[in-house]
């Protein structure tokens, strides 16, 4: 039996004149998975992660880390319309990928990009139609 999974992405902007909150964008797919991986302290090596998802049928991916780092989606040739395989994360700021070119065959989690910065964790959730 077919099951649909959803991601609901919402944005909020607080301003001196009040808040804007959108009603959310819903992404639907038949396959989703998630992982949480270690980001090494600054100066450490990258961590190679066994993870794969296709570009065909791709719906959305969400990444967030508690320390600044760069996550490389090996195999990707463009992310959100920009020719790159890297997602640069600031600490505790979410990055949402809604457009992907090139199937992802592995993930590399780079070390903390801040000098002398500690180790941390990065979360990824991905949704696609298989």
């Amino acid at each position: 039996m077919f099951s649909a999974f959803t991601f609901t992405y919402t944005q909020t902007l607080q301003t001196p004149a009040g808040s804007l909150q959108d009603s959310g964008q819903v992404f639907t797919g038949d396959t989703c998975h998630a992982g949480r991986w270690v980001v090494n302290a600054n100066g450490g090596g990258a961590n190679a992660i066994v993870e794969a998802f296709p570009a065909t049928g791709f719906q959305a991916a969400v990444l967030i880390a508690d320390v600044p780092c760069v996550v490389t989606l090996t195999g990707a040739t463009a992310i959100n319309g920009v020719a790159t395989a890297d997602v640069t994360l600031a600490a505790n700021v979410e990055q949402v990928v809604t457009a992907l070119t090139g199937a992802v065959t592995a993930i590399s989690v780079g070390a903390n990009t801040t000098g002398a910065g500690p180790a941390g964790l990065v979360n990824l959730a991905v949704l696609y139609n298989s």
């Binding site: 609901t8 902007l13 607080q14 301003t15 001196p16 804007l20 009603s23 505790n92 949704l127």
Partner: protein
């Protein structure tokens, strides 16, 4: 002045929510542009800022509308808004030049409101 931009994603595994990114500048521009029912083509909204002082811009409307920059200042071109979904542009890469005016284009059965929130430094 501060704008705080926060994103949340609910997934089957739980909710990922960030702590919010704070943008700071001297000037905030708040515009609620009425969109009357019917067709509008590249109608001008008086909103402007220099590219060098630009911090961020939020656009949200309760009816579908396309928002452009009169001088093609948006790097990605006109922004197509789905009803009640925010488009958020931030950082120098979002603009290709100064914004001298915004424009809106739509053809809706009902009236609506386009909310524009702009944060910038007028003299960076």
């Amino acid at each position: 002045m501060n704008f705080t931009y926060t994103q949340t994603c609910r997934t089957p595994f739980g909710t990922l929510q960030d702590s919010g990114k704070v943008y700071t500048a001297e000037t905030a521009s708040v515009t609620d542009q009425a969109l009357t029912a019917g067709a509008h083509v590249a109608e001008v909204i008086a909103v402007a800022c220099a590219e060098t002082g630009f911090q961020c811009l939020a656009l949200m409307s309760d009816v579908p509308v396309v928002v452009g920059a009169f001088d093609a200042a948006f790097t990605d071109g006109p922004q197509t808004l789905v009803a009640n979904q925010m488009v958020f542009l931030a950082g120098a890469a979002a603009l290709a030049s100064d914004i001298t005016n915004l424009t809106f284009t739509c053809n809706n059965a009902g009236a609506g409101t386009l909310k524009i929130r702009l944060l910038y430094d007028p003299t960076p």
